[in-house]
């Protein structure tokens, strides 16, 4: 197991290592010339502003919405909670597609921040709502007894307790913003990822693309370091025995209509606009846009890639997940950290590294399914790892031992007990990875074999040709695929009592 885990980690590190090595090989003079130029500065400003604006706005929005759905007597709180999570079922580039097809002139930083916030804020809402739910109300009661007003209790006691949730969600959103391609491509807002894609797809300028990729890697590491520092090492677990009471809900009173209005507005912008636009294009397009042969082919190829990628990624994550539950040690923690860093790196960088490796060492697999699936495994390994770890934890070693004492050989015990108990987690891992692949665009664009067109790719080519009606069926299929998983995500974030 250890050997397998090391092998997987090293393979996952390869694309990153090659991108860095390509930069070193270029030589300092060329590298400096490629890095210190106006274009890189412009991209850096764009990316920084995007993150510096979209993440705090999302955080504020998520805290307000989470408080309203979890801690206030807002009418229909359960329904609103579902609607607030619903934007996650719509791929980011479909959000962008909807907005740009309503307002064709939409572009630049403002559009980028707005659509990013609408598409990604549920990533912050989910952990914050879960944390608010789990918070011990005794803390707030104590603070009130010490003379703090409700608002000051919220700011001094509740918000600090949300720190881990906010840090985790903010990091996730920031990493998505760095890696996102389709959303910004459609509104012509340049980030490092779109610039690398342009370099790659139009005039393949190797050294320039590598330099951009390396700056992107540095941005990514800076985000990880910022999050680690902001998270701190305070203790947030509940102190003391027993179970916490259910928190009570605040009365909104006369503010209720305004709160409902806010909810309705957010839902309209984040769910209504994409779905209404999509419906409108489907109606406008009529029967003509349902070219079943083309849709069927794209669907088949997507399901094939998602299936193979899901299985291989889950298999690749298994040794590491096994070690982290059954034999945790320093080496395993190092390997795990490596994988999270590799997984945090945007897909374009991974794809670029893989292209380089393949062209240099195994040109015969270039533009075959092998390369694109390899990229998926590297990109989605952390998702699989989280699910697999939880699922292996479902099967403690004591159960395997009990099976052995009942006459099963170790392999039979593994099969009869651990594999069966871990199966739901493995299925979740498969689904998470498969969905990620279905909605993946940049790496697929760069690496997919000639002639292979996934749903996302066909959608993208129609959208960029401004044939919004023809793109609509593909967007709809992707939304339908994402729905079950989004509801799963929502249910997992809720404590058992409300399920």
């Amino acid at each position: 197991m250890t050997g397998a885990a090391i092998l997987v980690s090293l393979l996952a590190l390869l694309p990153l290592a090659f991108t860095s090595w390509a930069a070193i090989r270029t030589g300092w003079g060329t590298a400096a010339a490629l890095i210190f130029r106006a274009r890189v500065g412009e991209l850096l400003v764009n990316t920084t502003l995007l993150i510096a604006l979209a993440v705090p706005i999302s955080t504020a929005l998520a805290i307000v919405l989470a408080w309203l759905t979890e801690r206030s007597d807002l009418p229909g709180a359960r329904l609103w909670a579902w609607l607030v999570v619903a934007p996650l079922a719509i791929p980011a580039f479909v959000h962008s597609y909807a907005w740009v097809s309503i307002i064709p002139g939409l572009h630049g930083l403002f559009a980028g921040v707005m659509i990013s916030t609408l598409a990604y804020f549920p990533f912050l809402y989910l952990p914050i709502a879960a944390a608010l739910n789990r918070l011990d109300p005794a803390l707030e009661d104590s603070a009130a007894a010490l003379g703090l007003s409700p608002l000051r209790v919220f700011i001094r006691v509740v918000v600090p307790q949300l720190r881990l949730a906010i840090c985790g969600g903010a990091l996730l959103i920031a990493l998505h913003l760095l890696a996102e391609y389709g959303l910004y491509g459609l509104i012509r807002f340049d980030t490092f990822t779109t610039a690398i894609m342009d370099q790659f797809l139009s005039t393949f300028n190797g050294p320039a693309a590598y330099m951009l990729a390396n700056v992107l890697i540095l941005c990514c590491l800076a985000l990880l370091a910022t999050e680690a520092a902001a998270r701190g090492d305070e203790r947030y677990a509940r102190i003391g025995p027993g179970a916490a009471r259910m928190p009570r809900r605040a009365k909104l009173g006369r503010a209720a209509p305004f709160c409902l209005l806010l909810m309705a507005a957010v839902t309209l912008l984040a769910v209504g606009v994409p779905l209404i636009t999509l419906a409108r294009w489907l109606i406008v397009g009529g029967a003509g846009i349902w070219r079943l042969d083309q849709i069927g082919a794209a669907l088949g190829e997507t399901v094939l890639l998602a299936g193979i990628g899901g299985i291989l990624t889950t298999l690749a994550a298994t040794p590491m997940a096994w070690l982290s539950i059954r034999a945790p040690n320093r080496l395993q923690r190092l390997l795990e950290a490596t994988n999270y860093i590799v997984g945090a790196v945007p897909g374009v960088v991974t794809a670029l590294g893989l292209v380089t490796i393949v062209i240099s060492f195994a040109p015969f697999v270039y533009q075959t399914i092998v390369t694109v699936v390899a990229a998926y495994v590297v990109m989605f390994l952390p998702r699989a790892l989280i699910s697999m770890r939880a699922s292996i934890a479902q099967a403690p070693v004591e159960l395997e031992q009990a099976a052995c004492s009942l006459g099963r050989s170790p392999m039979q015990a593994l099969w009869a007990i651990t594999v069966r108990l871990a199966a739901p987690g493995a299925a979740a891992s498969f689904a998470l990875v498969g969905l990620g692949i279905t909605n993946e665009l940049p790496a697929t664009q760069m690496l997919a074999p000639n002639g292979v067109q996934t749903l996302a790719m066909v959608f993208w080519s129609f959208s960029t040709e401004l044939d919004y009606a023809a793109a609509a069926p593909y967007a709809m299929i992707m939304v339908l695929f994402s729905l079950p998983l989004t509801s799963l995500l929502y249910m997992y974030s809720k404590p058992a009592a409300s399920r």
């Binding site: 004591e398 031992q401 099976a403 052995c404 004492s405 007990i417 069966r420 108990l421």
Partner: protein, 362 residues
Amino acid sequence: MNLLELQGIRRRYGSVTALDGVDLSVAADSCTAVVGPSGSGKTTLLRIIAGFDAADAGRVVLDGEILTDGTKAVPAHRREIGYVAQDGALFPHLSIAENIGFGLPRRDPGRDARIAELIRMVDLDPAVLGRRPDELSGGQQQRIALARALARRPRLMLLDEPFSALDTGLRAITRQAVARVLRAARITTILVTHDQSEALSFADQVAVLNEGRLLQVGAPRDLYLRPRTPMVAEFMGEAIVLPARVGAGFADCALGRVPVDDCERQGAAHIVLRPEQVKFAEVGEKDLQHASTGYFGKVVEVDFGGSVCSVRVRLLDGTGEIDAHSPPLRLIAASIETPRLGAIVRITVVGQAHVFPLDARS
């Protein structure tokens, strides 16, 4: 005839010695309890016998077959040893019937009959067979775990603190039920526990383990009445350990002249009395003044415990004052005859005191 022989079992985890040369014989059709404080190595010992863990040195011989010899070991699934874990370790994804039948061949025509027989054996309603483990109470889960382990008619049954997760009332009932089932099936059993009363009531042979070594092995009554060291004495129950001068079958100690179980010993020694051997009765101040003989004490603490009370008594010296040199005695009395706080009591000793062997050190 001995069914199981352990010879010089050693096991180290890094710098920690879990087992430091354990020798133990277990007779066929008997029940042995291994007791010791937590961290004494008792679970490690059980896991080595079961084959879940390997020894660094030593041999495990079952019915003439060598199961473990140094680091060479027969794997757990070929040992035919039953094992019941602390929390039962029922398979959560299988029904109760599938759990019990797990060790039985799937095509065995007598499989269902055997499962029904086992569920009756552990005194449970056959209606539970279709349920899932999480729908059963803790005590029921333990009985199912026992039935599952019994299904294959193991040569030896290992019980790893199987009652410790149950609450007090249920613990005694489940323990008695399990003991009955195992005796009826004539299965040799080793029970690991940190609860001395459980060990005394359950086993024919008790082994006291501390820091990886066996301090004493013997019948429950022997361990209780004739412990080899003060540590064993205190582990097996409340003990009054006193320094004494021994000679001619008597000991002179803080409680006067007491007969002892060792007529040969001479000179200084430590003796042990059990609280129930020390009787005390309340007396008036006058009795104390007029008494020329006898030993008196003053009640300094009364701890009400329902049917019996624990009473702390300080001995009085010749002048009627508390003797600062003698330690307080912790005695027990039936609740209805418990003296009041501050009462003066006359103390007498019933039966013989036990003299610790010469070489015993704590």
